[in-house]
C-alpha cells in the first residue's frame, strides 16, 4: 500500500469536509477498498473512515419504506428483525454476501458506491426502485448505477442511506461463484403493490446490474415458470470471463428467475 493518513470523523459534516482534501477517498468496511489498496490500484492521500458516524447506521421503517443507513453492515441487515418483517428478501440477500467476517465489516453504502458488477445489493436496489440518499441529494436507482464500477456519485459525495419501497413479496436467488463468493448470476424478483413484477439481475450483464424488461412484462401478465420459457434473454448483453460464457449466464438468468417464482409460489 502507498502511504496515506487515516481520518476518523465522528459526524457527517466533518467527513464531508475531510473528503474535500485533494486525493481524499471514503472508507467504510474496507472489504473492497483495502484489497484494492494492497494491489496499489488506488493512491489516496487521506482515507476518510466513515465507520464512526452513528447517524449513518441503523434501520428504520417509515410508512411504505424501509430505510437502511449507508454505514449499516451486512451482518446487521441480515440479523435485523425490522428488515425481516418489512422486506425479508433483503435480510436473506445480506446473509448470503461473502462470509461472516466480510458481513461483520462490509456496508450497504460501500457496496452500492462500489457498484461491482457481481455485487448483491445493486440487484435489490434496481428491482425495488430504491432511492440512494447522499449528503447532497436523493438519486433514483436507475440514475445511480452507470455501468461497471461507475455511479452518478460526485467526487466526495457520501451515500448516507438507501430507501427501499416495501414490495408485496420479493426474493433473492443467488448463484454463487464459489471462489470469490460473489454472484455469478443472481436475480432479485419483486411483486409490487401495483401488480407489476420487477426483475433485477446482477453478476451477468456486461454493463453491470440491469432490469430485464422482457421477463418483467411476461411475469406481470402471467406469474409462472412457463411465462419465463417464452422470453428471450440475449446472451449478447452478458459478460464473458473464465467463470462463465455469455450463453451460460443468459441461461442462468432464466433458471434463477424460475427459482424465484418457485420461492414465491
Amino acid at each position: 500500500m502507498y502511504a496515506f493518513d487515516l481520518a476518523r470523523p465522528a459526524d457527517l459534516a466533518s467527513a464531508v469536509t475531510s473528503l474535500q482534501t485533494e486525493g481524499a477517498q471514503a472508507l467504510s468496511g474496507g472489504q473492497t477498498l483495502i484489497p484494492v489498496l494492497k494491489q496499489r490500484l488506488s493512491q489516496p492521500s487521506v482515507l476518510v473512515d466513515l465507520s464512526g458516524i452513528d447517524s449513518m447506521k441503523g434501520i428504520r421503517r417509515a410508512g411504505e419504506f424501509l430505510i437502511i443507513g449507508g454505514g449499516t453492515t451486512h451482518g446487521t441487515v441480515a440479523g435485523s428483525a425490522e428488515v425481516a418483517s418489512a422486506i425479508p428478501a433483503i435480510a436473506s440477500l445480506a446473509s448470503k454476501i461473502g462470509d461472516p467476517q466480510v458481513r461483520n465489516r462490509g456496508t450497504i453504502g460501500g457496496s452500492v458506491a462500489n457498484n461491482d458488477p457481481a455485487a448483491c445489493y445493486p440487484s435489490a436496489v434496481i428491482a425495488l426502485g430504491a432511492t440512494v440518499e447522499t449528503n447532497k441529494r436523493e438519486i433514483a436507482a436507475e440514475d445511480f448505477f452507470q455501468g461497471l464500477y461507475t455511479t452518478s456519485l460526485e467526487e466526495g459525495e457520501i451515500v448516507t442511506a438507501v430507501k427501499f419501497p416495501i414490495p408485496v413479496a420479493a426474493t433473492y436467488q443467488k448463484f454463487e461463484q464459489p471462489a470469490s463468493r460473489f454472484s455469478l448470476t443472481s436475480v432479485f424478483l419483486a411483486k409490487m403493490g401495483d401488480g407489476s413484477v420487477r426483475v433485477g439481475v446482477t453478476g451477468a450483464g456486461a454493463d453491470g446490474v440491469f432490469r430485464h424488461a422482457g421477463l418483467e412484462a411476461a411475469l406481470s401478465a402471467d406469474f409462472s415458470a412457463a411465462a419465463v420459457d417464452g422470453v428471450a434473454v440475449d446472451a449478447g448483453m452478458m459478460s464473458n470471463d473464465l467463470h462463465a460464457t455469455p450463453e451460460y449466464r443468459a441461461h442462468l438468468v432464466k433458471v434463477m428467475t424460475k427459482r424465484a417464482i418457485a420461492a414465491l409460489s
Binding site: M1, Y2, A3, F4, D5, L6, R8, G30, Q31, I34, P35, L37, K38, Q39, L47, D49, S51, G75, G98, D99, P100, Q101, V102, N104, R105, S180, R181
Partner: protein, 162 residues
C-alpha cells in the same frame, strides 16, 4: 504515525501505527503476537481472523488506527488460564482438524464466534460459519468434526455447571 492503544487478550497494549498499518501487522509486528497468520492479499483466506469488540473480522482488512480503543481477542487468548489448550483448540487436536496448521488460528477464531452465536450448529451451519476460512490441507471434514465435538463439550460443561 499515531499512538494506538487496544486491549488484546485482556491486557492493554500501545504501539505506533501508520494510517496504512493493518491490524494484523500491528498485532504481529508491534505486539509480537505471531499466532495470527496472513495467507493472502485478497481478504479471502481467513488465516488472519481475530475478534474486534466481540465480532470476528479479517485483521488483514482492518486498519490498526481504526481499532484504537478496541478490545481484541487473538488465538493466543484461546488457551485456558493454566496454559493448557482451550476447548476448541483441544478439539482440533483430538479430531485432526489440522495438518500444516497455517489456517488453524483463523479457523478457531471463526468457530469460536460461531459457537457464541449458535451453541449447537448443524454441519451445514458450521460449514457456512467457516466459509471465510480456507484450508489447503484437511478437506474440512475433520475441522467440522472438531467444531461439533467442541460444541458438545461446551454444552456438557454448561449442563454440569447448572
Amino acid at each position: 504515525m499515531a499512538k494506538v492503544t487496544m486491549t488484546v487478550n485482556g491486557k492493554e497494549h500501545s504501539g505506533e501505527a501508520e494510517g496504512r498499518t493493518l491490524l494484523v501487522d500491528f498485532i504481529r509486528g508491534e505486539l509480537g503476537l505471531t499466532g495470527t497468520h496472513v495467507g493472502c492479499d485478497t481478504s479471502q483466506c481467513g488465516a488472519c481472523v481475530v475478534h474486534v469488540n466481540g465480532e470476528s473480522v479479517k485483521s488483514c482488512s482492518v486498519f490498526a488506527q481504526a481499532c484504537d480503543g478496541a478490545t481484541v481477542a487473538t488465538i493466543e487468548g484461546m488457551q485456558n488460564d493454566d496454559g493448557t489448550l482451550g476447548v476448541l483448540q483441544a478439539a482440533f487436536q483430538e479430531h485432526h482438524g489440522l495438518q500444516c496448521g497455517f489456517c488453524t488460528p483463523g479457523m478457531v477464531m471463526s468457530a469460536s464466534e460461531l459457537l457464541k452465536v449458535n451453541a449447537s450448529p448443524t454441519e451445514e451451519e458450521i460449514r457456512e460459519g467457516l466459509k471465510g476460512n480456507i484450508c489447503r490441507c484437511t478437506g474440512y471434514h475433520n475441522i467440522v468434526k472438531a467444531v461439533q465435538s467442541a460444541a458438545a463439550t461446551m454444552a456438557g460443561a454448561a449442563q454440569a455447571a447448572e
